[in-house]
């Protein structure tokens, strides 16, 4: 028995969410007094792979090849399932990223495993009972789910588990996996990366704005504040519905759920559907001119004021803080 973590790379590098998932998988391996094996698919340097050892992986299986340069759901799931079987891994951990969420259900079927997606805490294992806490009702609640199968697949929500460095190094091994032609029926034609932008689902800081900004032409200050803080930008549903910002920035119950360390909401009233998508943020700052805005009820810090006056001042204050830091 062992634990297998799928270490997803972005352009050959691992992101913090993967270090979180490796740390988390290490803790599960420790619970079970077993070893942790990582698997990476695609083009990643040997040094980058070995660095997964810092977070507790003992061994890293490296799968590469021309056909596997880009993520293909079906093929990647076949490879990870094969690795799990060969390593005798009964628990497979993924990060709850867009790709992770595409892989988890396919792995669940291949391994006849219960799947806990949206996991936010370590599993509890008592007397053979395996329970895990996961998000439900779009962040309005959590469900405690028991996985009753022998094999288990867990997808960990980014920013929900703290990275711990153990300082080890991992042994890197090439892993030859079999794939079928039918695994490659979906053909990737083009990938467009907005390299200058921080990805919203795993951002540590999110600066979000709503209708209070009056129009798309006023987003410059939101982007400036986000850039200064190294944050991703987001928006409320009415804003993406109006076409002021792309749908991919829409945070909330019918958009993306985020769990950053800091969520700054500017000119967003705080409808229940929006709050659902951000409720697991660690610290919430609200800037709104309406002191009765429901968002203030869930905020940690608030400024009652006009965004067009407060945000430029806040930008200046952040610049000053950074200059003195």
């Amino acid at each position: 028995m062992s634990v297998l973590i799928y270490a997803e790379n972005a352009g050959g590098k691992f992101k913090k969410s993967i270090f979180e998932a490796v740390t988390y998988a290490r803790a599960i391996a420790d619970q079970n007094k077993t070893n942790l094996v990582a698997i990476s698919i695609g083009d990643v340097s040997k040094d980058e792979l070995a660095a997964l050892g810092k977070y507790g992986a003992e061994k890293v299986l490296n799968v590469s090849g021309d056909k596997l340069k880009n993520f293909v759901n079906q093929a990647y799931a076949s490879i990870i399932a094969e690795a799990a079987k060969k390593q005798g891994a009964d628990i497979v951990v993924l990060s709850n990223t867009f790709s992770g969420r595409g892989l988890a259900p396919r792995l669940g079927v291949k391994l006849q495993a219960g799947v806990a997606d949206g996991a936010v805490a370590l599993p509890e294992q008592n007397g053979g009972k395996f329970t895990i806490k996961k998000t439900a009702f779009s962040g309005k609640a959590f469900a405690i789910v028991e996985l009753t199968s022998a094999n288990k697949v867990i997808a960990l929500v980014p920013n929900s588990y703290k990275v711990v460095e153990t300082g080890g190094t991992a042994q890197v091994e090439d892993f030859a996996a079999e794939t079928k032609d039918s695994d490659f029926r979906a053909i990737i034609k083009e990938i467009v990366r907005s390299t200058d932008k921080i990805s919203l689902p795993d951002a540590e800081i999110v600066v979000s704005a709503g209708r209070g900004l009056k129009g798309p032409e006023n987003w410059g200050m939101v982007e400036e504040l986000a850039e200064l803080l190294g944050a991703a930008t987001a928006c409320s549903k009415p804003v993406s519905d109006a076409g002021w910002r792309p749908h991919s920035e829409h945070v909330g119950q019918t958009g993306i759920a985020v769990s950053p360390n800091l969520y700054i909401a500017i000119g967003i009233s705080g409808a229940i559907q929006h709050l659902a998508g951000i409720s697991s943020s660690k610290v919430i700052v609200v800037i709104n001119k309406d002191p009765e805005a429901p968002f203030f009820k869930v905020a940690d810090y608030g400024i009652v004021g006009d965004a067009f006056e407060v945000v430029p001042q806040l930008i200046a204050a952040v610049k000053e803080y950074k200059a003195s830091a």
């Binding site: 259900p105 009753t148 979906a186 053909i187 034609k189 993406s240 991919s248 009652v304």
Partner: protein, 245 residues
């Protein structure tokens, strides 16, 4: 083109979520159930793709008789016919297995689901269906254009997007951007009453997960208000007290 759209019956987005029986049951008292918003997007795109006699759209739901109002709404929006698999949807595996069994006997060119249901947020049914039926699956798609032999889809990835072509049949989980949700008109509502809604009994299947209980997020403390002209104080608090910058 024959399109299957998998739909869920979920609590309305404005629902305040509470639980009963020592936090083991979702409190449905006073809750209005709706067609899952992402499934509505999938259905709307399916109707656009088959508009003008270019195909048929079947909706399928795994649910007990109380989901029929939601199924009729899907028919009012424009689906051709509907299937209800008469069972309580235990978990995503159970739902996907039931739908896969139906599809094995009744093949479709394209199977659409919403990217996730807004109750359990699993985004699992599309991928599980793909695996159970040995079909490609692609999740969180923002655009779906259909040609004769294959479709072109745009998928959201972290920090960008990806354009793929996929031959039929395949499974896709749709998100916002794929279509604008359609509002049923009076003709649709009237015709939905007489459209076929077949009830199919479930097959037996072992399940692998069980919800034991629920928790609600811990209440947050009182908001600390900072005067509008003291933004430097806010920055200081975020640095020294909250330690997030």
């Amino acid at each position: 083109m024959k399109i299957l759209v998998c739909v869920s019956n979920v609590p309305d987005t404005t629902t305040k979520i509470t639980f009963t029986d020592n936090n083991t049951q979702f409190n449905t008292n006073g809750v209005q159930f709706i067609l899952n918003p992402y499934d509505e997007i999938a259905l709307s795109r399916a109707i656009e793709l088959t508009d003008g006699g270019k195909g048929e759209v079947t909706v399928i739901n795994v649910g007990e008789v109380n989901t029929e109002a939601t199924i009729r709404k899907a028919l009012a929006i424009g689906a051709t016919d509907a299937i209800r698999i008469n069972a309580k949807p235990h978990d995503a595996w159970y739902v996907a297995y039931q739908i896969a069994e139906y599809v094995k006997a009744n093949p479709f060119d394209l199977i659409l689901t919403g990217r996730e249901s807004i109750d359990y947020n699993g985004s699992k049914v599309a991928g599980m269906l793909g695996e159970l039926l040995d079909l490609p699956s692609v999740s969180i798609i923002k655009k779906l254009d259909a040609a004769d032999k294959e479709a072109t889809v745009e998928r959201e990835i972290e920090g960008g997007k990806e354009l793929l072509t996929i031959p039929y049949p395949f499974v896709a989980g749709t998100a916002e951007g794929v279509a604008e949700p359609k509002i049923p008109n009076m003709r649709g509502i009237m015709s939905a009453r007489t459209k076929p809604l077949a009830v199919v009994e479930p097959v037996e299947v072992k399940t692998y997960s069980e919800v034991l209980s629920y928790e609600t997020p811990a209440p947050r403390g009182q908001v600390k208000l900072v005067p509008a002209d003291e933004t430097a104080k806010l920055v200081e608090l975020l640095h020294t007290e909250a330690r997030v910058i």
